[in-house]
Amino acid sequence: MIDLALKNILRTRARTGLTAFGVLIGITAIVALGSISEGINVMINEELEFLGGTIMVTSKEAGGIMMGFSGSEITSEELDELESFSGVKEVVPLTFAIGEIVPMEGPEYVIIGVDPAQQEFYVGKGIELDSGRELESNNEYSVLLCYEYAENHDLEVGDTLEFEEEDFEVIGILEPGVADQDNIIVMPLGAMMDVYDLDSYGAAYVVPEDVGKIESLAEDIEDDFDDFAAQTQAEIAKQASQIVDTIRIFTLGIAGISAVVGGLGVMNTMIMSIMERRREIGIMKAVGATNRFILTQILTESMIITLIGGFLGLILGSVGSYSLRFISEGLATAAVTPQLALGALSFAMLLGLFGGFYPAWKAAKLDPMEAIRYE
């Protein structure tokens, strides 16, 4: 049956090729766009792991995940209150400043102030350095530069850099390609507040005494401090997964539409094919082919076409997603997971099944006598 199906679809190579190409475009879109949203998902998960079991407290008006850039911030009195709050083990205040603004691209980097004694809480597993050393003293005028900034400005450990007309010594360069470490400059909290003349904090991480009670602690903080938003990882994860879901629906929606168009192409081709082969189908029936035999035959043909398109689309989509990662130098992570690959191939097969069903059913129902007489 498969050999006969292959023979049939190879009779009209150009048409088969074009139809498979239509499917290919759709499946390529699914694989490429799907892998991008998978990549974003992976990236966000990595980020969440970093944040660990802490509560992020921000001023409500500053709001949510985009922390600390608005006027309203956390004062040192509020920080003291947080520290003495029941169930709180430690509070890690952070300050933020926006670095040079590049026209059209936004801030080139973000300056973050963190107490050197607490810097491991900011980045969870500790700052990963490419060269140099970590921050040591809270009042030292020293900075850690993200790799890209150091590269772009030709800076090395030992060089000095000016912030608000004060010289800072570069003591370390951050490892590139690590989540949370790109596009930032880290300096000691004390030095930063001094130089930028700050008396409040952009955000604070609250480390609970018992990680298991992190949710209720976050609720208690929000209840007690009217103007604070306290978010745990779970909440951030929820927000993040909503974002990922939105991206996923959007990308798969676009990809799905193009795939469905490919499927319509399959239907079109198969209808044409059975019209041309009416007489042959009649002959097959005359020599004893059942309706089911004809149905299966035509479905096999359409599924071979869509599987060829699907398989090539999977390859092309993977190449596309890999080149995206390559071009963006690892910034955009795109992942072709086995589920995505399998999903794309199954979808191609379904297209063959649905695109082929109507023509196959029509062919199966042909009256053999009329079909044989058909010229």
Binding site: K7, N8, M284, A289, T290, N291, P368, M369
Partner: protein
Amino acid sequence: MSNLIETKNVKKIYNQGKPNELIVLKDIDLKIKKGEMITIFGPSGSGKSTILHIIGCLDRPTSGKVYIEGKDVSRLSDDELALIRRERIGFVFQQFNLISALTALENVELPMRVFGINKEKSRKKAIELLKSVELGERLNHFPRQLSGGEMQRVAIARALANEPDVILADEPTGNLDSKTGKEIVNLMIKLNKDGYTFVIVTHDVSIAKHASRKINIKDGKIWSG
């Protein structure tokens, strides 16, 4: 001897109840015995091809019964009829009706493949059959590379593939010149002597000469036979 095929009061009406109603067959009673070679004569439009289609299980009568070896087949489903066709009936058409994308060999294999016989076995049988119709040298030729007579011999080999009880031929020499037509007639006579039952719709008197029985049909009725 019991009848291989029997029809009782078979009527065929197209577009029944509509203004363009067409009565093609009226009360056809026909008995075909094993080993016969029957010719059906009649002007075009007389309904002779329709009889062939009905006894060949390609079509159902509007009313009346069709029995094949005593079994009523007149109300079977499409797929049940297909099973009877593949096991019991071989068709030969005026237009040869070979599948153009398949070689002579593959065309003869087709009914066996449809039957579910494996590739090896059906290939062996197809080669045998093509040799028996003197086309052993033409196995891998496509229909377009064959002459009319050769195509009709491939079609006859195909009709024999599943060892049918009866071969139904609709104007088998109608598209052939008289010399080639004669060869085909001789082939059918030989097969009939080998035991195959033939029902042949034809205008060709040379076939009728060899028939064991001649049926004349006019206006959907049997006039003699």
